[in-house]
């Protein structure tokens, strides 16, 4: 019976791992080629490469950071800031991202008004990332079941008892970790910000091109997304001005 289970596990795992490997290798190749293009000064080519990876559905702070660096080199300040922010959202406190973001903000003399208004829960979990929490939860979850499986396989009653206790503790830990992961995800998703990627994007008083403009947003400035309506976003600028911008003029972090 045990051998049958092992065979089933192997058969189930084999295609999944090999599939992951194939997909991974093409992404790794693309990442490497894009990096080479950036190092050689072929920034547009590097941007295309990183963007291709993004289009494949890959959400990764390293790709965002490198893409931001390539945009920086091509003078696209708004897009550079957008991707630095995206990278920082996934991996907070990354020193290189924070440094480059500060340099870019300085370049556009962006106001350093803090738009972030995190809840007490948000502040508590501001040093954790969704990825970190999710990985930890999965790890503890797997460990819980491994412990329980060993408990079933072992005949020594003393060892079985120890495994049972460990399994219960791990189950509680994985449940807690799961809750923290959900809070983290909620905190990340409930408030969204955007970066102005166009030059001098108009802030309208209504989601209409004919509507009056209530100001101009400078490229690279960070705005808080308040509402969404078709091709328009209602945003609040650092100075507190609320208005509508066309989605094509901003990028959501």
């Amino acid at each position: 019976m045990k051998s049958l289970i092992l065979v089933v596990i192997f058969l189930l795992l084999a295609p999944a791992t090999s599939m992951g490997k194939n997909m991974g290798s093409s992404i790794e190749e693309l990442f490497s080629l894009s990096n080479m293009a950036h190092v050689d000064g072929r920034y547009e080519e590097a941007i295309r490469g990183y963007r291709n990876m993004e289009k494949k559905g890959l959400v990764n702070p390293d790709i965002y950071y490198n893409l931001a660096n390539s945009y920086t080199k091509t003078g696209k300040v708004g897009l550079a800031i957008l991707y630095y922010e995206k990278s920082l959202k996934l991996s907070p406190n990354a020193a290189d991202v924070e440094n480059n973001l500060a340099v870019m903000r300085e370049r556009i003399a962006a106001t350093s008004v803090n738009l972030d208004a995190r809840s007490p829960w948000g502040k508590l979990f501001s040093y954790t990332t969704f990825k970190g929490c999710a990985d930890f939860t999965i790890f503890v979850y797997l460990l819980t079941f491994c412990t329980l499986i060993v408990m079933l396989l072992k005949k020594n009653e003393k060892l079985r008892s120890r495994m049972r206790r460990a399994g219960v503790i791990l189950a509680v830990l994985s449940s807690l970790s799961f809750v923290i992961t959900l809070i983290n995800l909620y905190e990340q998703e409930k408030v969204s910000y955007a970066i102005v990627v166009g030059e001098g994007v108009n802030l309208y008083e209504a989601p209409l091109e004919q509507a009056a403009s209530s100001g101009i947003l400078t490229e690279g400035s960070k705005v808080k997304v308040v509402d969404d309506s078709k091709s328009w976003l209602k945003v609040s600028s650092a100075s507190g001005t609320v208005g509508w911008v066309q989605k094509k003029g901003v990028g959501i972090i």
């Binding site: 289970i5 991974g24 440094n99 499986i149 009056a212």
Partner: protein, 591 residues
Amino acid sequence: MINRISKGQLPAILIILFFLLPSSAFGALLNMEAYTDKTVVSMGDRLTLTIKISGEVSGSLPDPTSPGHEGFDIIGVPYQSSSFSWVNGRVSSSKTVNFTLIPSSEGIFLIGQSEVSYGGETITSLPVEVTVEKKEETTAPEEDKGIVQGMSADPYGRVIVSTSLSKKQVYVGEPLVYTFSFFAKVRLWENPEFSPPDFTDFWVENLPASKTPREVIIKGERYRREDIKKVLFPAREGDFTIDSTSITVQLDPFARPVVLVTDSIELEVFPLPAEPEDFKGAVGNFTIEASADKKKVKAGEPVTVKVKLAGVGNIKGLHPPVYEESELFRGYEPKDSMEISMLNDLISGIKTFEYLFIPLKEGEVTLPVFSLTFFDTAEEEYKTVKTKGMALTVLKGDESQAGLAASAQISQHMSGNGDMKKRLRPIRMKSSLGNWRPASYLKGLSLFLIILPPVIFLALLYSKGASRRKHQEQKASLGAAAALKIAEELMGEGKDKEFFAKTITALRDYLVHHFHLVHAGESKDELLEQLSKTNLPETVLQRIKEALEMAEVGRFAPTKYDETEMASFLVDVRAILEDCEKLNLKKGGSK
């Protein structure tokens, strides 16, 4: 008849009679009059016509007919009120009906003639003479000194809107104030909706709206005035048109909303004259002053210099004042703070830049002189303002201490501002390239890994249970075989009672373990009931029942059984066990 009226009904009848009698008796005492709140009105003005019916009568008074209103239109629904009084035994009633009229043409008109029929008589009110004059053009309130254009009012002058610009000719970057004013002399049903014009080509600063409306007099009538102000900074030269502005006003819930549209306003923006080299876009009139936090420092220790730019103009857009770099100091980029205020349509304020300098050499030195070049719009020329040179005594420094102090202060200074000399960090050459998307955890390998462990756990749990059951069954077979062997020996010894006891125990134990009968109990009936719930064939069940009964008789009956009878019984029991083994039955299966 009186006898038929109960005691309770009598007072009610008396009250009705009391109210009915006077009305018929005093019908002739009814009066009717018509009057207006004004006798001279302008076109567009409202007039209130009141018809009052009164008299020493009780009960409800009739409604008057619609009054004559030649030259006027009645707006809305008439407002009606009634009163009743009883003083010293005299009853009096009155009814007042108010009509709101608006002149439809100029001239002298007789209005308000109305009739009322009461007690068989018709009473008519006397008409009132009202003169309707031509409406004079509404002018802006005197206190609006700006260039007022695009004024618009509703046909009756109830609400007026106007727009104005503080200047009609400005330079690029020179602030001007756009004011939208709303005047109302009537109460509004709901707050109006303001649609500001398009301010493309201008940087716009919204000014806070006044919290309470001002009272102004226009043509002798009292209006409430509310202003919406925006400061505009022209971003480029040229002739511009500030588009018309509209506002929707709901005066009463039953009427259509009034939409007032102002005219557009022309504006001329001049280019700035040839710009000096150090000009960075400051337009207005500014002063500069600087102060240092220390007059004496050790070499290597930082000095903070605050440079204040104050004045009227585009404060927000002011760049840091420039200074000549010197070998005597190492300077860092400044951090800034701002205070902006608005007075008499002028944007003014203070922008403070905080510089950090580290003196590199000891001696008597002068801190850098800061300067700002701006375009003075009043005098239409560029001006440069400079700070005075500030003396600083630099002592010989303790390198390690000074270095520590400097690095701490520089770090603090930069934390609020960012070091311009910072360089971009390079790209990351290595990456795990994992997908950090939340949804990626619920597909592919991740999902598989999440599902797999519980599946394995459940499979193992099931396998463990099956194995335990099989083991129990094997144990039951072996146990039964051993017990029957002992019974055979007892049979050889002629111990019939012991033989039956052992045999039946063997059969019972076998059935309990083989069919996992947890709640079989001790009695024969309980065992049979549990067995009947399995998918054991009826024939086998019947044989078990017979064997159990036979054993009971054998154990407890006074008769002695010989070896042949016992052998036959043993064969039957063994046959039952063999049949059960063959059937490979399971507890809980269906029959």
